[in-house]
Symmetry: C2
Subunit: 206 residues, 2 copies
C-alpha cells in the first residue's frame, strides 16, 4: 500500500501492530478517527496512555487493578481460603459474571507454553505455591482452559502443592447447558458421563 501521507502511513502501521488488525482495517479505523472531532483521538490516546502507565497488578492475586490490592482480595466478605486459579483478567470477569463464586482468584498471567517461550518462571506460580505453603488455603480450583498448555500448567502446579494440606479441584467439563447431546464431541460427552453427579445436586442453582 502506498500512502499519500507519512503521518497517515505511520498511524496505520502502528494500528496494524494490534492482533487481528490488518493494514486495511487499520486504514479504515484511522480514517474514521480523521472524520471525527479531534477530541475523540485525544480521548482514545489519553485513555490508552493512562491505562498503560498507571495500571497496577494486585499484589495478592495479580489481577489488573487500580489499587495495590484489588477489590476482590480486599473484600472481607469473600472466602479467602478458596482460590480459583485462572489465566487472565478475562477469566476473572467471566467467572464473576456467573455470581457463583465467593472465593478469591489467582491470576497466572498465561499458561506454560514452551512453543511461545513461556515457562513457569514467567507466570505467578511461585507466589501461588507460597500462599499454599503458608497454610491459609483450603482449596485450589483450577479453571484454566482445557488445552495441552492448560493441562500442563495444572499438572505443574499440582506437583508443587500436592504435599501440602490443600484440596485441589478442577472446574467441571461437560455438555453445556442447553446443548444437544447428538452434536457434542465424544471427549466432552464421555467426561460428562464419567463425572456424572447425583441428580439432586444438578437441580441446584437453576
Amino acid at each position: 500500500m502506498e500512502f499519500s501521507s507519512k503521518l497517515l502511513e505511520r498511524a496505520v502501521n502502528e494500528m496494524a501492530q494490534l492482533p487481528g488488525i490488518g493494514k486495511r482495517t487499520a486504514l479504515r479505523l484511522v480514517l474514521h478517527l480523521l472524520k471525527q472531532p479531534t477530541e475523540q483521538t485525544q480521548f482514545l490516546t489519553q485513555a490508552l496512555t493512562a491505562m498503560r502507565e498507571e495500571i497496577k497488578l494486585c499484589k495478592s492475586c495479580h489481577n489488573i487493578s487500580d489499587l495495590e490490592v484489588c477489590e476482590i482480595c480486599s473484600n472481607p466478605s469473600r472466602n479467602h481460603k478458596i482460590i480459583c486459579v485462572v489465566e487472565d483478567v478475562r477469566d476473572v470477569m467471566a467467572i464473576e459474571n456467573t455470581n457463583q463464586f465467593k472465593g478469591i482468584y489467582h491470576v497466572l498471567g498465561g499458561k506454560i507454553s514452551p512453543i511461545d517461550g513461556i515457562g513457569p518462571s514467567q507466570l505467578t506460580i511461585s507466589s501461588l505455591v507460597e500462599k499454599v505453603r503458608s497454610g491459609q488455603v483450603e482449596e485450589l480450583i483450577f479453571a484454566l482452559s482445557s488445552t495441552m498448555e492448560g493441562d500442563t500448567t495444572n499438572f505443574y502446579i499440582f506437583k508443587q502443592v500436592k504435599d501440602f494440606e490443600v484440596r485441589i479441584s478442577a472446574i467441571a467439563r461437560g455438555i453445556a447447558v442447553g446443548d444437544e447431546l447428538e452434536y457434542a464431541d465424544e471427549v466432552t460427552l464421555g467426561r460428562s458421563i464419567l463425572h456424572r453427579i447425583p441428580f439432586e445436586n444438578s437441580l441446584k442453582n437453576i
Copy 2:
C-alpha cells in the same frame, strides 16, 4: 461487562468507539497492549495524535497529504486537465495501484446521502465546479461506487457542470477480469453487453 479497573474500563470503552470494534475485541486489544512493552503504546498514541493534529488536506484535490499541495497535484508530469472524481483517499490509493491513470484526482470526502445527513455542501463539490468553470479541465471521470448515493452524487455534479465545455465520463462497469459469466449478476452482465467495446481495444493493457 464489569471491569476490575477504571483505567482498563476507560481504555476499553474508548477503543470500542472505533467502527467494527466491539467491547470484547477492544478488551483483547487493550490486554495485548498491556502485555507489550510500554513503548508500543507510546508509539501508537503518538502516531495517532500526530496524524490527527498535523495531517492536512491538499488545497487542490482535498486528498490527505503532509503538504499544502499533495504529491500528485504538484507533479508536473501528470495531466492536470483530466480529473478523476473519487470518494476518499482509499479510492485514490486503489486507482494509483493500477498504474493506469496519469491525470489528477478530486476527493469529494463522501457521497450525497440524506439518510446519513450528508448534503452537497459537506462535500467538496463547489471547488470541483469552480475548477471546471475556470476552463482548465478537459475531462471529468466519475469513479464513485455504483450505489444509490454514488449515482445521486454523480448526477448532482453532472447537472452543475454540463453547460461548461468539459467531457464527462464514468468508469466502465462490467464483469471483473477472471470472473465467470454464469455467476455474474444480471445488472452487471447487462451493462457489460450494452457497453461492449471494439475487440482490439480490449487487448490493450493486458
